[in-house]
């Protein structure tokens, strides 16, 4: 019978672009700048680069080499390494499945904001009016218009996890559109994915460059950059700095999901994956730093803008209270005038004192935000104050979409490659149908995240679905390749593929440094979870207009436990089932 040859990338560039598109995702834009700010500014780059060399590059090279060598998705590849490791592949697929369920919701939000960017003025620039048109909506008054747009008009968030509310049809529509876009990109396998990644990998860089130029020319951008890059070297003695650096490198490269194995399996066996691993990891880290420069110039602009508005408000208040001439109070003479007024009109001044806020640029810059808060609230706030905000808004959300879709392509590849490899399923259904079914199931489950309490469930998935499981998966992977498969055999395979053996740096990292690092990360996270006791989350309180901390209810904790267990248990269960199967076979052979 005719054997179907495995689909290949048209050229190695497509493979590199696919890896870059997958690795460079939203985490580079919204997590790295936050970490940089929290853990010592410019000084954070030291642990970051050390971790890149110690775990990032070696582990990336390992996964790419495994995929390229075995030419199968994650399940098949690990089965070949050792039949007891089929559970590792299954665990990867399950984690990828959880990830794709909730990750596409971010793309839905990006679409929502993108579609709303075609209005003048931007809808998050002003508060809506209340019912009798005498002022603004109460909730919007307490917080800012951008936060109101995010929490009320986009998410329509409920006050707690228990109050589920109903499915928001607008978000459901955007989610469906996001899944249709993903389906369009993956439905022909590498043929279509290979062309799409040219766009999803390069477009974000174009937008980042435009934003860099725009950001650096904004008023007050320098404040942000100075604030970020002044190294606070005392943070290097804080163990959390090193752990955050290691965690960021680990998750930023997307190791352990099976996506890299899937991508590499479509390579020709002679592809130089060593060079590609180095290139991809370097580009990923450089992009993070590049994105931080952009983010911090925007931060600086926003902080300066808020600081100046605050000062202007104080000036207006003083002018109105004491009937001073316009223009007599400026930002420069404010402090002297305040003292003068306190001396001349002490009673009225003390009456006014509670309303006079102490405006501080430092305080504005200190508000560190990460995650969806940064991407959707802080950036949209900065954009609304620029000139031609619609243009910058469209550019920004298109970039977010490209980053998000690029990562989704990797996630779905991790799920689909094992499915299309398995002869059982692939014989009966063409790959368009398999892709369609996977997208459909994910879309339906994803509707949970469009409910009013959806964002809380999103946070659960974001924080717990992948973290511990991935650490365990990659640990088992590294130990399997080094000690079960044997590092000499692996060396020989690499020699067959690339033409030279890996040098001592790679071998030391694979055998000692990376596993040790992962074990220490794993222990740290476990002890952290155990010590904090009950897990808590941030809920939006509409009456106060800010986030409050609440405890997770029992069933939410059960879901968290299930998420972690579903993937991690696969590894021992897989080994056990193979063991049992071999036992039975041996017995049946011996009885014959």
């Amino acid at each position: 019978a005719m054997e179907k040859s495995r689909p290949l990338w048209d050229n190695p560039l497509q493979f590199v672009f696919a890896c870059i598109s997958y690795a460079v995702g939203l985490g580079n834009v919204w997590r790295f700048p936050y970490l940089c700010q929290m853990y010592g500014g410019g000084g954070f780059l030291i642990p970051y680069f050390i971790m890149l060399i110690a775990e990032g590059m070696p582990l990336l090279y390992l996964e790419l080499a495994v995929g390229q060598r075995m030419r199968q998705g994650s399940i098949g590849a690990w089965k070949i390494i050792s039949p007891y490791l089929c559970g590792v592949g299954v665990a990867s697929v399950i984690v990828s499945f959880f990830l794709s369920m909730y990750y596409n919701v971010i793309n839905a939000w990006a679409f929502w904001y993108l579609f709303h960017s075609f209005q003048d003025p931007l809808p998050w620039a002003t508060c809506p009016l209340n019912s009798n048109r005498t002022g603004y909506e109460e909730e919007c008054e307490k917080t800012s218009s951008t936060q109101y747009f995010w929490y009320r008009q986009t998410l329509n968030i409920s006050p707690s996890l228990e109050a589920s509310g109903s499915v928001q049809w607008e978000q459901a529509l955007c989610l469906t559109l996001a899944w249709l876009v993903v389906y369009l990109c993956i439905l022909r396998g590498t043929e279509s994915t290979g062309k799409v990644v040219y766009v999803t990998a390069s477009l974000p860089y174009c937008v980042l460059i435009i934003y860099l130029i725009r950001g650096l020319t904004l008023h007050g951008a320098v404040n942000g950059l100075v604030y970020m890059f002044t190294p606070k070297l005392e943070q290097l003695s804080n163990p959390k700095t090193w752990i955050s650096a290691a965690t960021q490198i680990f998750f930023s490269l997307g190791l352990g999901f099976g996506s890299l194995i899937a991508f590499a399996s479509y390579n020709e066996p002679s592809n130089n994956c060593e060079r590609h691993a180095i290139i991809v990891s370097l580009i990923n880290s450089t992009t993070s730093i590049f994105a931080s420069i952009v983010t911090f110039s925007i931060y600086g602009f926003k902080a300066t803008f808020n600081y100046e508005s605050c000062i202007n408000k104080v000036i207006l208040l003083l002018m109105n209270a004491f009937d001073l001439e316009e223009g007599s109070l400026t930002a420069d003479n404010l402090n002297e005038m305040k003292d003068y007024l306190m001396a001349t009109h002490p009673q009225e001044y003390t009456q006014l004192l509670p309303q006079l806020k102490n405006c501080s640029l430092e305080a504005e810059l200190d508000t560190a935000v990460q995650g969806t808060g940064l991407a959707f609230i802080v950036y949209s706030e900065a954009i609304k104050n620029m000139e031609v905000p619609q243009l910058y808004s469209v550019l920004y959300f298109v970039m977010l979409l490209m980053l998000g879709i690029g990562s989704m392509l990797g996630n779905t590849a991790a799920i689909l490659t094992p499915l299309t490899d398995s002869r059982v399923i692939a014989a009966h259904f063409p790959k368009e149908v398999i892709s369609g079914v996977v997208c459909f199931i994910n879309c339906v489950i994803g509707l949970i995240f469009t409910m009013e309490a959806g964002n809380y469930w999103f946070d659960i998935f974001n924080d717990y679905a992948a973290t511990l499981s991935l650490l365990l998966i990659v640990l088992v992977e590294t130990i399997a390749v080094c000690y079960i498969y044997g590092i000499r055999r692996f060396e020989k395979d690499l020699h067959t593929m690339i033409g030279r053996k890996p040098n001592w740096y790679w071998k030391i990292m694979w055998a000692c440094a990376s596993p040790l690092l992962i074990i220490s990360l794993f222990i740290f996270y476990l002890t952290d979870y155990i010590l904090t006791g009950t897990l808590q989350y941030q809920a939006w309180d509409a009456t106060q207009g800010q986030l409050v901390t609440k405890d997770y209810p029992g069933y939410a904790l059960a879901v968290i436990g299930l998420l972690v267990a579903a993937s991690t248990m696969c590894i021992p269960l897989g080994a056990l089932s193979t063991f049992v199967r071999k036992r039975l076979k041996r017995e049946s052979v011996s009885t014959v």
Partner: protein
């Protein structure tokens, strides 16, 4: 007196910047005229005169108090509610006489209704959403149909080749039924998987 008096605050420099005019007696005269005009329009009686509007406590901020007296009834002031309603009705005219807006010409006790933003009949975002959705669905449809056509062509080709093989007319060199061209991939190396398979079995 205080009940029927209103405080007014102007922010001329904020509104006009370099084109700001100075506040002098002529501007005050214009203000009195506008208030008188507003009352005349509101109550439709032409008895209110400019001299009925009294200003006091003019400060550098440019803020002052004013009352409107009623000359028909001796030395009483027009009730505040009437003045408020009159000013509300003619706010636009008063603002434009001074080239100011609701924010820069404030009547402190009279709150202005804020104008709602313009809302088109269909929300703009739905239109953009519709356009993008149609494009994506068209793309999916096109790719799926192209895929089905390609598969039909391949099936026809393979059945043709089988027929040719049976007739013994095929000149394509085959090995185990696979034409050599597809075997001759750019990766013409030994398939490492099979080489190491032996190792796996012997270790058992």
């Amino acid at each position: 007196d205080a009940q029927n008096a209103f405080k007014v605050r102007l922010s001329i420099k904020t509104a006009l910047g370099d084109n700001a005019y100075a506040w002098d007696a002529n501007e005050e005269y214009l203000f009195k005229a506008m208030v008188a005009f507003a009352l005349r329009r509101y109550s439709s009686k032409s008895t209110t005169q400019i001299s009925n509007v009294l200003l006091c406590n003019v400060t550098d901020r440019v803020s002052f108090w004013f009352v409107v007296t009623d000359s028909s009834k001796n030395v009483t002031t027009v009730p505040g509610s009437e003045v408020e309603a009159a000013i509300r009705m003619n706010r636009n005219r008063i603002n434009s006489a001074f080239l100011l807006s609701d924010k820069t010409l404030q009547f402190l006790k009279i709150t202005s209704t804020l104008s709602p933003p313009v809302e088109p009949s269909t929300p703009v975002w739905l239109i953009v959403f519709g356009v993008v959705l149609c494009l994506i669905v068209a793309g999916i449809f096109f790719l799926v149909v192209a895929g089905i056509q390609q598969r039909k062509k391949k099936n026809k080709q393979s059945t043709e080749r089988e027929n040719l093989e049976e007739k013994g007319e095929v000149t394509v060199t085959v090995e185990n039924g696979i034409p050599c061209e597809t075997l001759d991939l750019k990766a013409g190396h030994i398939n490492g998987v099979f080489a190491t398979d032996d190792e796996r079995f012997t270790s058992l």
